[in-house]
Amino acid sequence: MKLPRLASGRSQDHRQLGDEDLMALVRAGDSAAFEVVYERHRVVAYSLAYRMCGRRPAAEDVLQEAFLSAWRRSSSFDPLRGSVRTWLLGIVHHRAVDALRRSGNDGRRRADVPVEELEFDSEVRVDDDVIARDRAGAVRSAMADLPPDQVKVVELAYFGGFTHTEIAEMLDLPVGTVKGRMRLALSKLRTHFEPLEVTP
């Protein structure tokens, strides 16, 4: 695999470190350690941002805002709550939701669009990473086991950035029902994934 270009020699040394060790350095203001964290997680972070925003400039802005937020608030990373990947993607997701809500309804149609129908530009890549393919397959399998009404609210919320009240209005459901479906869906996904979770 071709490794990305890194700006400094220190970054090359930091590549030997695990994510949590890198975060300890980042907390101390080590920009080279942060650069390695960025290089490791930039693709999945950008992929999520693009999936939610649907436009390259918006996704790039989200990526930039999210990683700068991670740099400035590195002390909020708690390894007991999840991996660096989970922490970063949580920040990216939060920023993307903010961007979608700022942009209004026009920017939030993509939750309803199947992934296969999204228009990607020339930089989309077919991932040949076996582990990534297995992880994607596991998630699709878990989602397939959920009732469709639970899948719907999860996708509208997570990828569409809609609030629970918007989803309730959209689907003509009581707010409590929407919240309940979200909780039920995540409880099932949690049960499905946790044995596979490698994070502390």
């Binding site: 890549r125 479906r181 909780r183 996904l189």
Partner: protein, 238 residues
Amino acid sequence: MSQADHAAMFESLGAYALGALHDDERAAVSAHIESCPICAEDAAAFQRAATRLTDTVPILEPGPHVRDRIMAVVESEAALMRSAAGERPEVRAPRRSLASWLAPGSGRWAAAGATLLVVGAILGAVLPGTGGSSTRTLDAAVGHGHAWVEVKNGNAQLVVENLPAPPGRKVYEVWVQHGAEPPQPASRKLSDAIFVVSSGRVEIPARIGSGDRIMVTAEPAGGSQQPTSLPVVITTRA
């Protein structure tokens, strides 16, 4: 918090993990999980489960320009933190530009090619505060100019004398750094945190506590949300 309130928070954890709550609701749940280990554990587990949804998205590479944009800010802030902590700065591009804007007013700096000497002369001259119990004067030399901060009855003012003009079409911006936190503009309203005068007084709206650092950097007109150049003034309240 009542049992009913706890139950309401508990029921909201799924929506919380999916980012589906309104801002006020999200803040309430965030506050709750800080004090409720049961909900904190569930929230973290739900967050991990929600994040797994990302595994299904098509993989895309961001362009290298995004990394360059991010790292330019990160490097700048890291350098600022190193400088604020009193470490000797490394020779990098931002410092060369700092030397270059000093050069027109004092040609001998550039002629000597002494970039580090210039930066050291500015950043190294951080003096401890002096003054009475309610008034502390903090002092830092800036080239041929002078700058210090006066704090009286909790109100701070930056006083500058013969400060070199900011480079190009830039302005000076005042920053406050609490402990190891990143520097913040001295005012949420950026127009209150910037100045261009070479001699005069600049109000610092932010509250200045003991050990806080006050810094001044040259920024694009209108000011910046984060520093884009090295500080030309660093003072620390004793």
